[in-house]
Amino acid sequence: MADKVVRLPVVDGLGNTLRKDNWWVGPLVTFSVLSGFVVYATLRAFEGAHYAWGPYLSPLASPYFETRDLGVPLLTPAILILPFPGLFRFTCYYYRKAYYRAFALTPPACAVGGRAQGHYNGERKLLVFQNLHRYALYFALLFLVFLWHDFAKSLSWEGELGLGVGSLVIFLNCAFLTLYTTSCHSFRHLVGGSVDSYSTAPLGALRFRLWSAVSRLNVDHMAFAWISLAGVVLCDVYIRSVATGAIQDVRLL
C-alpha cells in the first residue's frame, strides 16, 4: 500500500501531536480538581462526624441516617449517601468527557495521540453501564427533593422561623444542583428529546416546550457541573466548620 511507504507528519502514540498550544493545561486542571474532590469526599465520608449543626445538614449526608447503632464497621451516614450523587456524576456525559480525557487519556486532547492503542473499546464493553445514566438521574431528582427539604428545615430554629448564613449557603447549593440536574442530557431526552414528531405526539406541544427549556440549560451543563461541585464542597466545609466550632454561624434574622 502506498501509505505504508510514505512518511507521515504525525505518527500514532500517546502525546504525539504537532499542536503548539498548551493543550495539556485543560486535562491537568481537570485531573487536579477532580482528584482533589475525590480525596476530600473520601476523607469526609470516613470522618463520620460533623455532618450537621443546628438546623443545618451537609449535602454529603442527606438524607441523614444514623449508622452508629448498626454496628457495621467503617459505615458512616455519608458513606450511605455518597454513592448516589457519586454515580450520577460518574456517569454524567460531561464528566465522562472530562475524565476520559484527563484520567484515561483517550485522548488527552484533540489531535493529540491517545492511550490504549490497539485495545480501545469505548463504551461498548466494560463501560457499557454508562448507558444507564438515566437511572442515576432518577435518584438525583429524588435527592433534589431531600436537599430542598433540608433547606426548608434550615430555616426552622427550634420551631421559630430564622435565617442564618448557613441557610444561604444551603440555598445556593440547592440552586446550582437543581440547574446541574435539570440541564442533564438524559433529562433532556426524558422530557421530550425522544419525540420525533412533536406536532403529532401525545402532549407534543408541552414536551416540545420542556425540551426547548432543558436544551437552553443544557448548553451550560459543563459550567453547572463545576459550579455545583464546588457548591457541594463549600456547603459541606461551611457546615463542618460551624459544627467543629472553627467558625460561628451568623444569624441574619
Partner: protein, 294 residues
C-alpha cells in the same frame, strides 16, 4: 534563520510556512519544507499556499474549490489542529513563528496536503436512506417547523471530514470499519429524529455503525467549521435513543406490556452490498433480536 525585513515604508510582512511534502508513489518521501511568503491583510492560509504554488513549488498538491468555507475540500491540519485552509486567517498566527501545514492524519496520504477521503463515501453508502411514510390523502406530506428545527443544524454539514479526522476512534484507533464516525452519526441522528421517516436504524447504529466506540470526548464539536454541536445535539441524543431500545430494562418491560403501535420497520439492506454478501448472518440475527425484544 534570520530574515531581513524590507526597508521602512514597505508594508509587506513575511511569514514562513512549513508544508508537508510527500508523494505516496515515492517510497520514504515525507518532510516539512519551509517556504516564505509575503502576507497581506485578509490573507488566509490557502492564499499563502497558492502563493507558494505560484512562485516556489508548482508541484505542491492541495485540494480546494470554493475558497469560501462551503465545499469542504481544503481540510488540513494547521499547527496540529484540523482546520479549513481557506477559513484560517494568517493574522491569527504570530508572525515570527513558522506555520506548520500538514495533511489530515486519519486518511491515506496521496500527495503533499491531499489525502484520500473516499472511505467516507463508502461509509455514506452503508446508511439506509430516508424513507418517508406515505403521503396524506391530499397528496402532501405534513410536518411542522418544531418537528424539524433540531435536525436543520445537522444539514449545515459541508462534509469537510475534519470531525472524522480528529475523532480519536478513527485517528488513533483506526476503527474505520467498526465505527462510522461523527459526521455519519449526525446524519443518522437526522434520520432517526425525522418526523416522516419510517426506518428503524437503531440496531445498525448500535452494531454496524458502532456508536458505543464514541466516548463523547467532543473533539468533533471542537473542530467543526460549521459550528455544529455534534456531540451534545446529535451523538448524545442518539446514544440516549439507543439506550431506550437496548439498555434500559424498564423500557424493555414497558415495550413488552404495551407494544408500540407505530413501529418503524427494519431497513431492507441492498442485495449487492459488497461488504456483506447475501447469506452472511448479520442482518438475519439483527431481525431476530428485534423480534424477540418487541
Amino acid at each position: 534563520m534570520a530574515h531581513e525585513r524590507e526597508g521602512a515604508g514597505s508594508s509587506a510582512t513575511k511569514a514562513t510556512l512549513k508544508i508537508w511534502r510527500a508523494d505516496a508513489e515515492v517510497a520514504g518521501s515525507g518532510e516539512l519544507v519551509a517556504y516564505e511568503v509575503e502576507t497581506y491583510p485578509g490573507m488566509v492560509v490557502l492564499d499563502a499556499i497558492h502563493a507558494v504554488q505560484a512562485k516556489q513549488a508548482p508541484d505542491l498538491a492541495v485540494r480546494w474549490n470554493c475558497k469560501a468555507g462551503r465545499c469542504g475540500s481544503c481540510s488540513a491540519e494547521i499547527n496540529g489542529k484540523p482546520k479549513l485552509l481557506c477559513m484560517t486567517r494568517m493574522s491569527t498566527f504570530a508572525p515570527a513563528e513558522p506555520i506548520v501545514v500538514t495533511p489530515m492524519k486519519t486518511w491515506p496520504l496521496i500527495k503533499d496536503l491531499v489525502t484520500d477521503v473516499s472511505h467516507n463515501y463508502r461509509v455514506a453508502k452503508k446508511i439506509p436512506p430516508f424513507a418517508p411514510r406515505p403521503r396524506d390523502a391530499d397528496g402532501r406530506w405534513r410536518m411542522q417547523q418544531e418537528d424539524i428545527d433540531r435536525i436543520q443544524e445537522f444539514r449545515k454539514c459541508i462534509e469537510c471530514f475534519l470531525c472524522q479526522d480528529v475523532c480519536h476512534v478513527l485517528r488513533d484507533h483506526h476503527e474505520t470499519e467498526e465505527f462510522v464516525g461523527p459526521r455519519f452519526l449526525i446524519h443518522l441522528a437526522t434520520l432517526d429524529m425525522h418526523p416522516l421517516d419510517t426506518v428503524d436504524r437503531r440496531p445498525m447504529i448500535k452494531d454496524e455503525f458502532g456508536i458505543g466506540y464514541c466516548n463523547i470526548t467532543r473533539c468533533c464539536t471542537e473542530v467543526c467549521p460549521e459550528h455544529i454541536v455534534l456531540t451534545d445535539n446529535g451523538i448524545i441524543p442518539l446514544k440516549e435513543r439507543v439506550a431506550d431500545d437496548f439498555y434500559d430494562p424498564l423500557r424493555w418491560i414497558a415495550r413488552k406490556l404495551f407494544p408500540p403501535k407505530h413501529k418503524k420497520r427494519l431497513p431492507v439492506l441492498p442485495d449487492a452490498e459488497p461488504a456483506r454478501p447475501l447469506g452472511v448472518p448479520a442482518p438475519a440475527n439483527r431481525a431476530e433480536t428485534v423480534d424477540a425484544e418487541e
